[in-house]
């Protein structure tokens, strides 16, 4: 099984996310992350889909996306051709015994403390998904209270844009 990332530009219309995810559900695509955001134009939204599966399933996913009238542009983003970034907020138990270890790890990962109380610490981590996974693994030695991850934001390297693919 491989991990694929596909960026999709869609018409910024009511219900469009529902159309996309409904298709994923009905065809049983294994989606591990999905991010939706507005773009530089109000007419379009950008969806980044991270999908686990085989090559032929990925092709099928792209082909099915292509059939949705609200989809304007699709591009597969690979580690070679794109830049990826994710944001995570992680809430940990503030415990005198582990406090220093948490801070050391946070420093190593360039994580920022954005909330600090007697009982809890909230850290903000930015980076690729692997970095998030590694950081979470490290924090499992302590008490994780809550995790919130955004999913990937991905953009192509260089001057190429998704818009150049418009009206496939």
């Amino acid at each position: 099984m491989n991990r694929y990332s596909v960026a999709v530009l869609v018409n910024n219309q009511f219900g469009v996310l529902n159309r996309v995810t409904s298709m994923f559900r009905r065809r049983q695509f294994n989606i591990s992350a999905l991010t939706v955001s507005e773009t530089e134009t109000s007419a379009l939204s950008r969806i980044t889909v991270v999908f686990d599966g085989e090559e032929n399933m990925k092709q099928q996913l792209i082909n099915q996306l292509y059939k949705l009238p609200d989809v304007c542009s699709i591009k597969e983003l690979t580690a070679e051709n794109s830049l990826n970034c994710e944001l995570m907020l992680i809430k940990l138990k503030n415990d005198p015994l582990s406090r220093e270890d948490i801070h050391a790890a946070a420093e190593a990962f360039k994580a920022e403390t954005i909330d600090y109380t007697k009982d809890s610490i909230v850290l903000r981590v930015i980076g690729n998904s692997t970095k998030m996974d590694d950081f979470i693994a490290l924090m499992r030695d302590f008490t994780i209270l809550e995790i919130c991850r955004t999913g990937a934001a991905s953009i192509e390297k260089g001057s190429a844009t998704l818009h150049q693919n418009l009206n496939l």
Partner: protein, 557 residues
């Protein structure tokens, strides 16, 4: 001009060239029906007995004309009653536009009376759907819906119009009817790849489906077959595209396909697939399906390429345009050895033909064939009768067979036959079973009301024949809930609705009854008694391969 939303909607249907639409009124679509009343000299509305019948009628109209079929319903239950009809059209790629009323926008989301999220419900069974939130968007939306319904791979589109949008007024500017998106051929590089594979083929087989009909690629396909010396078979959706007696045509293949057609496909070294899917009813066990063959697949829908069967060359594009570019690249090469094998398969098929005396299913369809004109559309429901019809009907022109292929909708036929009669302007025929007919026989009222000439032949065996066939083969003859044991007198039923009919039990009786039916003004029902243990043969058991094909079967009673 300043018009109400409902006027704009109806004007827009007229603008798109709709002559006949099908539907059923109700509270939240009242204004649209008022506009239909206003413009009744320009557009004909057929009131059915049930919204499902209207949806199937729009489908039958679309299949027989190639135009977009239109169905109109009210909100809530009216809209949900369309669902099976829309899904039927979706699975068979039929261009349809469904228009539903809904509660006013101010009440949306409050669970008011007959409010229903029909765009949510139909999301997976439409190409696209629209909720029209303001009257200014209405004309644009209707045009867009028609364009989508007929472009590329056709399919149903639904438009949900709240009542206040029907009432509100805005400026309407008439336009020319929308054209479908310009079809495109597959990429040249793919066409070259395909030509190399086809030119190297020793045993080519052409397998086509409904895409050849919607693309209008019949001539190109026949030219291709002549050039590369290939036999032709089709999925059920391809039936009627080329004349049944075309010398290269081996008929439908698949689970209940013609033996020669299935065997030729199984033994081919290149399968050239045109506008067709590899449905499980066609392939059986996919791992054993045509293992010797390279599949070259042309389809306007790229998602069909490599979906269930791996192709060596997938060409996304319009079948007609792609074949036009492919044909000059192909070598003209007779393949006498291959054609001799195909002839041998045909000869073997002859030995399996059911030539029994009496009113056998095959004899019933062959008798019907004698009465069919070149332009007569034949519709079916779903089950054994559907397969007997698909195997034995004789077609002369495209778009003269309408049957629910993908969804397999029992109850499809009567509505479709009414739509087909409007579409062709001629008498249509419905071949059905007593099970299927029971599902939507209420539409006889519609056919009587509008004096629609539909000849209904009920293959009446008193059981759900296809279910029984499977129970015989796979469930130790446990006929669980497949024996109908009804006492329906279909001829009396016909008369009670204002039509006429009779029962027949022998081929010559059927022949005489068909004479009367084809001369009758209005719908006519023939209750055709057949044995409950008739089988559809040949049969490829589900999940089986050509090695498992059943060609003969005797059931001990």
């Amino acid at each position: 001009m300043l018009l109400s939303g409902s006027d704009i909607l109806v004007k827009n249907l007229i603008e798109q060239g709709c002559e006949t639409v099908f539907g059923y009124p109700g509270g939240q679509i009242l204004n649209v029906y008022d506009s239909l009343y206003k413009y009744q000299n320009e557009i004909n509305h057929v009131l059915t007995a049930h919204e499902q019948g209207a949806a199937h009628a729009a489908d039958g109209y679309a299949r027989t004309t190639g135009k977009v079929g239109v169905v109109i319903s009210t909100s809530g239950p009216g809209a949900t009653n369309l669902v099976t009809g829309i899904a039927t059209g979706y699975l068979d790629s039929i261009p349809m536009v469904a228009i539903c009323g809904n509660v006013p926008t101010t009440q949306i989301g409050t669970d008011s009376f007959q409010e229903l999220d029909i765009t949510g419900v139909t999301l997976p069974i439409t190409k696209h759907n629209y909720f029209v939130g303001k009257v200014e968007d209405l004309a644009k939306t209707v045009r867009e819906a028609f364009r989508l319904a007929k472009s590329g791979r056709p399919g149903p589109v639904l438009i949900d119009v709240p009542k206040d949008v029907q009432i509100a007024k805005c400026e309407y500017t008439p336009e020319e009817p929308v054209q479908k998106d310009a079809p495109f051929a597959a990429k040249d590089v793919r066409i070259e790849e395909a030509s190399a594979i086809i030119n190297a083929a020793e045993r080519p087989f052409i397998y086509f489906g409904g895409g050849v009909i919607s693309s209008g690629a019949m001539e190109e396909m026949l030219e291709l077959a002549e050039k590369i010396d290939a036999p032709i078979g089709c999925s059920m959706m391809g039936l009627s595209a080329i004349p049944t007696n075309h010398p290269r045509f081996l008929g439908m293949q698949g689970m209940h396909g013609h033996f020669a057609s299935s065997m030729s496909m199984h033994n081919a070294d290149v399968i050239l697939s045109l506008g067709v899917r590899f449905n499980d009813r066609v392939t059986g066990n996919r791992s054993k399906f045509a293992v010797k063959a390279k599949v070259v697949h042309i389809d306007v829908d790229g998602s069909e390429l490599n979906k269930t069967v791996n192709t060596v060359c997938g060409l996304r594009g319009d079948v007609k345009l792609t074949l036009q570019k492919l044909l000059p690249l192909l070598n003209e090469e007779p393949k006498p050895d291959w054609m001799a094998r195909v002839r041998a398969f045909r000869a073997e098929e002859e030995t399996y033909l059911d030539n029994r005396e009496g009113l056998t299913p095959r004899r019933a369809i062959l008798t019907l064939n004698k009465h069919l004109g070149a332009n007569t559309a034949v519709c079916t429901d779903v089950g054994q009768h559907q397969m007997w019809a698909a195997q034995n009907l004789f077609f002369q022109r495209p778009r003269r067979f309408a049957s629910s292929g993908g969804l397999g909708t029992m109850g499809y036929g009567f509505g479709a036959a009414i739509g087909a009669a409007y579409g062709t302007g001629e008498r249509s025929v419905l071949v059905t079973g007593d099970g299927s007919f029971g599902m939507n026989l209420n539409e006889l009222a519609t056919a009587v009301r509008y004096n629609v000439p539909v000849v209904v032949i009920i293959m009446n065996n008193g059981v759900l024949g296809m279910v029984r066939q499977w129970q015989t083969l796979f469930c130790d003859k446990h006929y669980s809930n497949s024996v109908l044991e009804r006492k329906t007198d279909f001829a009396a039923f016909a008369r009670s609705f204002g039509a006429d009919g009779e029962a027949v039990a022998a081929p010559d009786e059927l022949d005489a009854a068909l004479d009367r039916a084809f001369a009758y003004e209005g719908p006519y029902i023939i209750d055709c008694k057949i044995d409950k243990d008739e089988f559809v043969l040949p049969m490829l058991p589900p999940g089986g391969s050509m090695d498992d094909i059943i060609t003969k079967l005797e059931v001990e009673s």
